[in-house]
Symmetry: C3
Subunit: 208 residues, 3 copies
């Protein structure tokens, strides 16, 4: 176990787990904020709170990195991973922000599908992150990363279908501008999950 091989002043894995939990919480909150077909603005506000909380864990990683002599893997990889996880929740927050900025109240159906895929991708990514602390989880971690990639493909096709319907059915150009961006941002969340999964894969490859 890496944990045992490398006694640490501070447990980075605990902080990564906290970041992963923020991802799961953010994704669930985002889904709940829209799943009824009308926007639940208090839940959108909660996404912003979760993002702020996640920022704290990300800063704690960087701050510990400055103080630690021994780290479980390369310092740069710790930096990259914490940044990638932070980017995921940032993007969920961007969606929440845009929905407020654009004063959107009714939710189009495709976004609800996207929200489910975002949640699944965050779950798979979290499993990968949590598995990293022990190389005996190698298969599980790599499979979870592959699952994120699979979900990214699904997310792509949900967005393509959503855009097709939007341009076909909506005549108001300003409405098209707003929803086009939201659909694309929703897909980007899963893209960034895949980026984070690539960092995890890369760390595992180095350790193997």
């Amino acid at each position: 176990m890496l944990n045992r091989l490398f006694p640490q002043e501070f447990n980075f894995f605990t902080l990564f787990d906290k970041q992963a939990e923020c991802l799961m919480e953010g994704a669930e909150t985002l889904r709940l904020a829209i799943e009824k077909g009308v926007v639940d603005s208090s839940r959108l506000a909660k996404v912003r709170e979760i993002e702020a909380k996640a920022d704290g864990f990300s800063s704690a990683v960087i701050s510990q990195l400055n103080k630690s002599f021994i780290t479980p893997f390369d310092r740069e990889d710790i930096h990259s991973l914490t940044k990638a996880l932070d980017d995921v929740i940032d993007m969920m927050n961007t969606i929440a922000n845009r929905m407020s900025t654009y004063k959107i109240t009714e939710v189009r159906k495709s976004l609800m599908e996207s929200a489910l895929v975002i949640e699944e991708a965050c779950r798979a990514l979290s499993a990968a992150v949590k598995g990293m602390r022990d190389m005996k989880n190698y298969e599980l971690v790599m499979n979870s990363c592959l699952e994120v990639s699979r979900l990214e493909n699904i997310s792509d096709s949900i967005r393509d279908t959503a855009l097709g319907v939007l341009f076909e059915s909506e005549k108001n150009a300003v409405t098209i501008i707003k929803w086009k961006e939201i659909y694309e941002d929703a897909e980007t969340v899963v893209d960034i999950c895949e980026d984070a999964a690539h960092v995890v894969e890369s760390i595992m490859l180095k350790q193997a």
Copy 2:
């Protein structure tokens, strides 16, 4: 020759070459799909097939990476390069997808110019990738990477001109939304070619 210095269980260079060939094939198919001024939808569909084939080579690289003890250069660089090459063909596929989604049948002239530059950039990038297997090609590889950067500048100015004409001549906002995205995506293909070229440069610098 790296090939001789580092006997390998598996030849990564062969897979990179296959990815590079998919790039060339994708770029040619995209050009052919639009060069008559009307969209050839069966050729757009072929871009999607080429992207799927390219995915297979990219997955093979990752899978071999998991099994190989000796690699021709850093494991992380192999990971980065295969991802960057995959991103290029992905973006060509995005353009094909958007043209279908937006039900575009007539092709604006600037896109034909972009398609030619994309093809040249993929050719230069492929030359760089194919040259990597032997350090005696150092000059050729670095020059090919510079050529990709030169083409990226041209691609930038084609897009700027295209957007100027679009906003000047087109009054329908929805049409502007569609074509603005397609012009930008076409430029992004060349941007990602340049990103891939930067990975190649970085690998060569480490070996030098």
Copy 3:
């Protein structure tokens, strides 16, 4: 001092400083080009000249990298840092280009606020870059990087407010398309400053 510990054939720090000075000059010129509320097109053109000058320093870094046996830190990090700094001035140039392409003559107020934040972010990033040459500046460099992150948050909220006002007050979809892009690009300049600051942080962490 790194400078003394690592005698160099060429002083990379001098080139990084030149790049940082271009950033400051570009940011100041962009602000001056718009601060009167009407576009000063000769100053926009000057942003393009500064970008071209900055390209020269970036190319000089890459070219020196090819010739140097001893570098003050990892070759790949030198490559990443010079690229990140180049991306900042590129994005400022993109804004100047878009304003010309879209034939914008009157400047919306939010953009003036953004221009001030861009200038501050470039100043903090420059301080970080200039401090890197001596590890006794460790605190100053890390604090300057944190300052860039702080400004990135401000930049985010300026853009959010600007988009809210734009969608609320503007009825012309084409005008919305143009200004939405410019506001987002202005925010992206600060985002890329933060990316560059992350490269600086990562270099400092490795040296520490």
